[in-house]
Symmetry: C2
Subunit: 352 residues, 2 copies
C-alpha cells in the first residue's frame, strides 16, 4: 500500500526530505535540488514536489543542512558598543531582513580591549561557522579582525562612517557606509545661519572613525557660512555622558563662553545639558546645543535636542541583506545622516 499524504499527515511527525521524496516518488536528491533551486529539474517535477512540500509543511532542518554545507544558518552580530539603543536598533534591522529566511541572529558582544579578543572570536567563528557576520563600530575598524574573517572565509559586512568625499575603499561591497558628515554639515550650517560665532566643540572618542567624520562635517557646514569652531573652545570627550558633562563645564568656565556647543553625540550633549542646568544657563536662550544620533534621550531632554539622525536600523537591514543575498554585490552601500531640528537651537542673544 502506497502511503498517501493524508496518512502521512495523520502521523503528525515533523516532515523530512525522505518523506517528501517518498510521497512524490522521486529520490531525495531531486527534492534537495528543488529546495536549493538548482537548475535542471523538470518544471513539472519541480511543481509537483513543491506542491507536496507545501502540503505537508516540510522545512529543511537547518542543523542537517548546516552539517552538509559546513556552515550554520546563523548571522552573527559582533560589537563592542555601550550604546544600548544603537545595538538594539541594529539587531532589529538585521532581524527585519532575516525574518522568514530560516536564518537566525546570534548576538556576540565582545571586549575589544581584552587580550582574548581575537581568540575568543576565532573560537566562535570556527565552531559555529556562521553564514556571515555583521561588525559594528568601532571594532569594524580592527584590521586583525578583518584578516581573521578572511582567513576563516567568513562573509562579513562592516558598518562604518566615511566622509562624503572619501574615495571608495577596497572593501566596497563588504561595508555599509554612513556619511555622518552630511547631517553634521547641515547642523553646522544651521547654527552658523542662526548667527552663532562663538562655537564650542565636544568631540568623540578618536577610536571611532565617526569622531573624525563628524568633526569634518560640522566644520564644513560652519565654514560655508563663514563660521568655525573656536580654537580655544575645542574639547574632547569619549562619547560618554560624564565626559560631555565635564567638557561642558570647562567650556562654561571660559571667560568668553560659547553661545553654541556642538557635541559629537547625544550622550555628551545630555551631559552638557546637566552642566548648563547647574551653571544656570537656559537652553536655547543662553546656549544652543547640538547632538548626534537622535537617541531616545534627545527627545526626553527639556527642551528636546536638535540632533543628527542616522538610519541605524536601515543600515543593519542592508548589511543583513548583503549577507543572505545570493549574489555578492560589488558596490558599497551608502546612507546619509540628516539634521533634526528641535528646541535646543536658536539665535544667540543680541550682544553676543
Amino acid at each position: 500500500m502506497t502511503e498517501t499524504i493524508e496518512t502521512f499527515l495523520s502521523r503528525r511527525r515533523k516532515a523530512t526530505i525522505n518523506d517528501v521524496a517518498r510521497l512524490s516518488g522521486v529520490s531525495k536528491k531531486t527534492v534537495s535540488r528543488v529546495i536549493n533551486n538548482s537548475p535542471s529539474v523538470h518544471p513539472q517535477t519541480r511543481d509537483e514536489i513543491a506542491e507536496i512540500i507545501a502540503r505537508i509543511g516540510f522545512r529543511p532542518d537547518p542543523q542537517a543542512r548546516g552539517l552538509a554545507f559546513r556552515r550554520a544558518f546563523l548571522i552573527g552580530l559582533i560589537y563592542d558598543n555601550p550604546n544600548a539603543q544603537y545595538v538594539v536598533n541594529m539587531q532589529m534591522g538585521a532581524l527585519d531582513c532575516l525574518r522568514g529566511t530560516g536564518t537566525e541572529l546570534v548576538v556576540h558582544p565582545c571586549d575589544w580591549h581584552s587580550a582574548a579578543f581575537l581568540s575568543e572570536l576565532r573560537e566562535f567563528l570556527e565552531n559555529q561557522r556562521p553564514s556571515g557576520v555583521i561588525i559594528l563600530p568601532p571594532i569594524a575598524e580592527d584590521r586583525r579582525l578583518l584578516d581573521l574573517l578572511d582567513e576563516l572565509n567568513v562573509p562579513h559586512v562592516r558598518v562604518t562612517a566615511r566622509t562624503a568625499s572619501s574615495e571608495d575603499s577596497s572593501d566596497a561591497g563588504r561595508e555599509i557606509v554612513s556619511r555622518d558628515d552630511i547631517g553634521c554639515a547641515e547642523a553646522g550650517a544651521h547654527i552658523a545661519a542662526l548667527g552663532h560665532r562663538r562655537i564650542g566643540y565636544i568631540g568623540g572618542n578618536l577610536d571611532y572613525p565617526s569622531a573624525h567624520v563628524r568633526r569634518r562635517g560640522f566644520e564644513a557646514g560652519l565654514a560655508a557660512h563663514g563660521a568655525a569652531i573656536a580654537a580655544d573652545l575645542d574639547e574632547r570627550g569619549d562619547y560618554s555622558f560624564d565626559s560631555g558633562y565635564e567638557a561642558a563645564r570647562r567650556l562654561f568656565e571660559h571667560p568668553n563662553r560659547p553661545t553654541a556647543i556642538i557635541c559629537a553625540n547625544d550622550e555628551m550633549a545630555a551631559g552638557a545639558y546637566k552642566a548648563a542646568y547647574e551653571a544656570g544657563l537656559h537652553i536655547p536662550g543662553d546656549l544652543t546645543l547640538i547632538g548626534f544620533d537622535d537617541a531616545p534621550i534627545a527627545d526626553r531632554l527639556s527642551p528636546p535636542l536638535t540632533t543628527v539622525r542616522l538610519p541605524t536600523r536601515e543600515m543593519a537591514r542592508m548589511a543583513a541583506d548583503r549577507l543572505i543575498a545570493a549574489q555578492p554585490i560589488e558596490t558599497g552601500l551608502v546612507v546619509d545622516s540628516a539634521l533634526v531640528v528641535r528646541g535646543s537651537s536658536s539665535a544667540p542673544k543680541p550682544g553676543f
Copy 2:
C-alpha cells in the same frame, strides 16, 4: 606508518572526532563517551583521550552534535519589550553564563499583538530546536506561549515579577522571580519618612505583572509610616515617557498638587521631570520624584532620580544557568529589588 599528533597538527585542518579516535587508538564511540562524560570509560583511557583532545584542539561540531541530539546548541531570548537597556542587560546576563559553553544566544524579539505571534514562534522553535528559551515580561505571562513550549518540549525559564508574599507557583524551577515590591516598599517608606503626605502615583501598563507588584510594594511602604497614595492623585500611564509626561501634567493641574510623585518606572519619571520643568516646579525642592528600574536615564536627569534597582543582568544569568545546568532545579529563584536614593527626593517644603 602511524600518524602522530605532530603530523596531524602540521595539516592544520579542523579536528574531528575521527581524528581524535585515530590518534588515540580507540573508536569514535569511546571519544564520544569522553565528550559527554558518560561513565564506564576507564579513567586512564579517559585521561589519554582528554589529553589528545586538548593537544589538537578538538571541539565537537555543534551542527553535527545538534543533528544527532535533535536540538541546536542555542538559547533563544524571546521578548516584546521596548526598553532597549533592559533587553541589552538581559542579553549580557545570558551571555555571561553562555560564554565558553559552546552555546550561543539567539535573540528573538516578536510582536505580542500580532496575529502571527504564536505561529511565528512555533516555526522558530520547531525549526531551530533551541536547547532552551528565556522569556521576558510581559509575554512571559502568556499562557498560550507556555503551552506551546510544553507541547514542543522546549525547556524554558520565564522572568517575572511577584510580590514577596506570593505563594510559589506551579512553575517553580522554570522561572526567575523578581520581587519588585521589596525595593518599592523601601521607596514608599523613604518618602513617607521624609514627611510627604500628598503623594501622587503614576502606574504602569497593567499588561505587565510588575505594574501590580510595584503598586503593592509602594503602598505597603507608605502604609508602614501611616501614609498612602492620595485617591485623587492616582494616575495611570503605560510605562512610556509621554504617558508619564501627560499624567504628571494632570497631577500638576490639581488644585492641591502632590508634593511627591511615585512613578512605576524611570521612563515615566523622566516624562514627569519634563512636565515639572515646564510647570516651573523645582526638583526636589517643590516636588519629590521616585522611579523604578535604575535605567541609564535616571542618572542623567538633573537632579539624578531616586529609583529602585532590579538586578536584571543577574536575573538573565540565572535564567541561562538553569537552562544549561545538567540537573533541573525544582525551587524557584528569587531576586530582590533595592532602593537607590539620589537627588530627586527630599522633605517637602514646610507648610505643605
